[in-house]
Symmetry: C2
DNA sequence: GAGTACGAAATCGTATACGAAAACTATGAC
DNA sequence: GTCATAGTTTTCGTATACGATTTCGTACTC
């Protein structure tokens, strides 16, 4: 998973800051001071600025004119927007990819899902989340539309930045998630029509959102995993 | 439609270059030389560079390291990706917005559609295209998910940059388009369920893509309007 | 005449520098 | 003690400058 050759310093800065956000070193609200980051990375402020603007476009960072950049927060409204959008683009990506998924890929996905089941027993939420992403990545491997795939990845990145700081399971949701994965695989195997697959994939995502919204208000600022 | 206060010079450069692309002054393949644009706009290269990178993120510009930026071309594959993605996000945006559209907005949309019909008779494709965008903008006015709306606008911008250089009608498609608009309005008025509306909105977009794909190969590089 | 090698010109990438705006702090009035 | 205000500090925004890379043109060889 290590990044290949770091081309420009701007690229390097982008990858570095993004990694720190996604892994949680920079938590939401964290103030990103250009000069400070530049010094840390051993480059000047210009490429850092460029990197930050790129992250802003992806929604990971909020930039305010003449004030500065902060890591985007976990505003519940934003979470809702992101999950709803993900539901739609993941649904489409799954439906488009389904006809191109061969039995080998299905087997791999199933293996990943089995590992996820294990994680539930040993309670390893971090690994569970990573595997969850792997599962869908296998399905999307041959997605015929890279634009849609890109939108999926953007959504994932946003969620990652949220998750790193306020990780929490919605009770029982993870178990359901694993079952839904299996159901999805069976739909794909049986060459179900595109609409059916799309609806299933959508609901797989939006069910998590619903679970979140159903949480007692006191927990409203915590965020579920899948 | 004139832009309000131009904040930073970077913003100014962004708006200026984007406008030139969308309106067709810079046609696909056009070489965007930083220094030249900077001089034109009376600013230095740094904000121009930032603007170009932003346009790159939106897909309007292609940037190659140590070589420079060019206006994105009309690669039929890219067109397909964009239209397919638009079909999905417009479908979702329409379905989400439908319950929030009041009768006043419906009336406005209908008026716009009537104007579009006029444009067909007087053969005014440029105005037709603008009105087409207006029509959907009315529907999306109260879209409850700004992320999805943003995706729609990005798609439109991409199409605009294509259209400005190779505008052409697919025979008969525009007439159908107007009819589909009316059908869509009736679905919304009758409070049809979300799925039905979504499917209709999707097909409205993908029908244009299909019409394009059905064109004789000799015309394959020309692109339809709606 | 075609192809290659070398040099000049163009263009990009980034460091540095400085003016401008905002945020912070300390001082004083009420 | 609280609020307003002026001065200081921090940080951003952009201009300028220069080294690095690519591209283009020319001359030379085969």
């Amino acid at each position: 998973m290590t990044e290949a050759a770091v081309g420009s310093k701007s690229e390097q800065a982008y990858a570095a800051v993004k990694a720190r956000i996604v892994e949680g070193t920079y938590t939401p609200g964290y103030r990103l001071v250009l000069a400070k980051i530049a010094e840390d990375l051993g480059v000047s402020v210009v490429p850092v600025r460029e990197a930050i603007r790129r992250l802003e476009a992806e929604g990971l960072v909020k930039f305010e004119r003449n004030v500065g950049a902060t890591v985007s927060g976990i505003d519940p409204t934003e979470y809702l927007y992101t999950m709803q959008t993900l539901s739609i683009v993941e649904g489409a990506a799954t439906a488009l990819s389904a006809p191109l998924i061969d039995s080998v890929a299905i087997a791999r996905a199933r293996a990943v899902n089995a590992e996820m089941r294990d994680c539930l027993e040993h309670f390893d939420p971090v690994r569970f989340t990573a595997l969850n992403q792997d599962f869908h990545s296998v399905l999307f491997e041959h997605c015929p539309n890279p634009h849609i795939l890109d939108l999926v990845h953007r959504g994932w990145n946003r969620l990652a930045s949220i998750r790193a700081s306020t990780f929490r399971f919605v009770p029982g949701r993870a178990q359901e998630s694993v079952k839904e994965h299996e159901a999805l695989l069976q739909l794909i195997e049986s060459n179900a029509d595109a609409d059916t697959i799309e609806q299933a994939a959508r609901r797989h995502r939006s069910a998590t959102l619903d679970a979140y919204l159903a949480l007692p208000q006191s927990n409203a600022e915590s965020v579920s995993a899948h």
